[in-house]
Symmetry: D2
Subunit: 299 residues, 4 copies
């Protein structure tokens, strides 16, 4: 028996790798991307091209969204030529990009009204991890969607972690994770400034931490990036990181949870934007931390 | 050839394990502790008891300090019945507790005046790690001390990481590490509050993080402690954690490095003290984070 | 010659006093309020009752809005039975409540399309000041609106301060002012906690400050409120103060200005909401400040 | 009957005016200043010159200190050639500069042991206010000292405000006041950045605030300074302002009061020092606030 047909909407730095991985293991993939060039590259590898989000789905089929923000997902799903009505009864929408829990919950309600299913399944990992099928996936939503999504998600990542039935839960986990990553970045930036002005070598310190008490991906990778200030090309652009911290703050406000570190990170990102650093990697918040300490970051 | 004689001053939660490990591999250990009971336990295992810091050293020998704070180290070394003068020419002082870089630099100067050597060699790890010889050790100071300290340090930990000749450098590394650990704790506390008020299970989230993007000791251990709020018995008491953050802030001020997260952590610890939580584990700063979010932490 | 007819929409703690003042000096006032009871009280004083925002205006007339938030103003102006289309050519909308600069700019554009005018004229002052015609008014917008609004604004306040032609400018001034007021409140709360735990009497300190370096309304009034913790009845409820700080943060984000004190105030208000204090005066953020210091505020 | 003899130690920007005022109303003033030139200027106006702090006092007399920091006061009082022993029984030390409550309490104890008295009487006001006898004075200590100090304090200021018997209380009040002033500065700086990036004129906004809700000295004066960025010559140099905020933080830590705004102010000052602005007025923390917002402050 052949694999299912899958619509894939959003072929950015992450999505293009993910769609290609589905193609390679035998899924029939129909792709849509607002910028057509990116879709054409995948067509050369066997993907079918759709002219609209609606064109990427078949009744009762599966569709994955991997888009830049909440608005883009809502527009692809519910806007003009959106796919939700075309997907119809028994269809499954797997939402894999970072959106607010509110958007996830709203989409789940819209699908439920039409007899289709919604599964929130955001991912952790940089583009290299997406290419290598090493993404970490967290999911939440109704059981029927999880069952059907299994083969797709197992193709894309190295494990699926379940967070229950609330479609917003996985979004909260994803936002929490991104918040924790950027928190670690700011803390590392402060520690490295303290070290540098005490004459301690930044690279040696970052290396030590990544080999000992913090021997995990985030500290190893970001420690190196921060020690040497390698902010180009961006893994995640600072202006996109801002979007994530805004979602964290909005979600925190909605449930009345003061998060002082989130406020600090937001201020750092905002300062980065105000000083023309929106195109750099989001770890470039380090330049504000170092600047406050009078460190010359051009050397 | 037998192993060297070593004086060991300070037999707290960490020091007692370390001194015992030295005894077990054959070092001749003379111990001193202000509270005599703790020393007597080690005497039963073969240690010699000294009546004062001075009594724990022999001319030209090795002495290790593992004491609560800067004042205690300075007093043991330079106060009444302090060991520095008795240690004399060619002696070696290995300072393994958390002190300020200024104290380390000052002690190095005092030793240099007398022809003895000073090595800063603070450690990372909870008491269990000390017992299991799994400490991570960072050292800095003159080469001659490092050479001579090798067999001692290799006995106590799972690796020695070098930070050059400045005797203050290893202290900066130690303070940076403790700062990063408590930063991770506060960030986790905020993320867990966000999750909890969104209906996401705290333990599941902490487990997910420790298995994926943050699969390292700090996040695994503290994630579990924070998710379940296990603040007793303390690994490091909040009131001692305060001492460390104070050293971080003082060091940062001395070299003019603003550290907003350090200020936040200090405020959390201070709030913990003001609310009668000084005896709990330092991760109990979570109670302030949760309290700000209106979470009932008694349930 | 008689005075102009004026529509007045929004009869809350502030608006009811303002409408009454207009009536008393001879304006013909038609009022609308969502809760009809408040309008009826004014009808007894000579006001005409309208059944909708649209019913409160006459073609080419003047209409004042004094409503709870941006949405309420936009809805009254542009929603179902909104007044903008009925106001028509040469009409004047004076917007006196606290809204975002974006809402002011949008309303100005909507009026311009229809040949009517928009004047932003938010006010400073508590309800007592509104009753006593002691409001401070800041205005911005096109000159024609300012000219026509003069007699109305002079009736309501003790002076009109002009901020140019950008209809958003006066909103920015109003938000800045509210931000500065709550900043002073938090700073006072911290200083009073410091004083109290040093044995200095709170009331004496607040009195001293209000008589010397800070002899102005904000410090005199709020100093007294804070020293004695008189948070009921609220002058401005904490949950409404939250709305203002949210507008400050949104406006700051839009123009990329990090405002760390605004973030702190937002966190304090959010903590107040999370702990069931939304109905108290917004100065009740002091309870968080005091709580962090372990001060028993029930005594 | 002639006026009392008074020793005056510390002839800085403030002290020189104060000593001159005492001379002018007829006190016999003996002055000491570490930099002799400043003392000689006063000698030309009738002051007697002393060669040491001790030389500035007579047994049982009055001595005033107006020095840069805690160390300077302690040294003048208790160091080599210090005045406390020479002052002796029934003498009175009026301490008018900004010191920690701990220093005040310690000095009071030292005086009590010798039968002399200590009165804490720090002042509010810039040098112009000192010259014009417009200082605001807050005092605390034993009643006998207050009685005797009356004529001196009435000569120097426009009113004496009493804070009870604890010699540390007036120091707490002084520190609280300076903290509140710098808090207002930072809040103003944030509001002015928000306004500027919204196209609102800084000077107009500052003027409006100083005439309406904040019509008091601090907002009037600092509003103008901040709007126009007039940071030279300094009224209070940033590096001295840092000393005050350090005292605030130390005092807050001693009594376990978290003060997040004080932490922010400390970070701003530290950033100023790190960026070479220690010689500017302490309000130059605005340059960090504006820099974070990407505002070009060189224009």
């Amino acid at each position: 028996m052949g694999k299912e047909a899958v619509g894939f909407i959003g072929l950015g730095n992450m999505g293009a790798h993910m769609a290609r991985n589905l193609l390679e293991v035998g899924f029939k993939v129909t792709v849509f991307n607002r910028t057509r060039e990116r879709a054409e590259t995948l067509a050369a590898s066997g993907a079918t091209l759709a002219e609209s989000p609606r064109g990427a789905v078949v009744p009762g089929g599966i569709v994955i969204t991997m888009l830049a923000n909440d608005l883009a997902v809502q527009s692809a799903a519910l806007g003009e030529n959106g796919f939700v009505d075309a997907l119809g009864k028994d269809g499954l929408h797997i939402s894999m990009s970072t959106v607010s829990p509110e958007t996830s919950r709203k989409l789940a309600r819209e699908h439920a009204r039409r007899g289709s299913h919604f599964l929130a399944a955001p991912v952790f990992g940089r583009p290299e991890a997406a290419a290598a099928r090493q993404l970490w996936i967290c999911q939440s939503g109704a059981a029927v969607g999880k069952q059907r999504a299994k083969s797709v998600l197992n193709t894309l990542g190295q494990g699926v972690h379940d967070f229950g039935e609330d479609p917003g839960a996985a979004s909260v986990v994803k936002l929490s994770g991104n918040f924790l990553i950027l928190s670690a970045v700011e803390a590392l930036a402060e520690a490295l400034a303290l070290a540098q002005k005490n004459g301690v070598d930044r690279t040696t310190l970052a290396g030590f931490l990544g080999k000992t008490i913090f021997s995990c991906a985030v500290y190893k990778n970001y420690g190196r990036i921060l020690a040497d200030r390698v902010f180009e090309p961006p893994g995640l652009a600072l202006e996109l990181g801002m979007k994530d911290m805004r979602l964290v703050r909005d979600t925190a406000e909605a449930v009345q949870v003061p998060m002082p570190i989130a406020d600090l990170l937001h201020a750092r990102l905002l300062s980065g934007l105000a000083n023309g650093r929106g195109h750099l990697d989001w770890t470039a918040i380090e330049l504000s931390t170092a600047g406050d300490a009078g460190i010359d970051t051009n050397r």
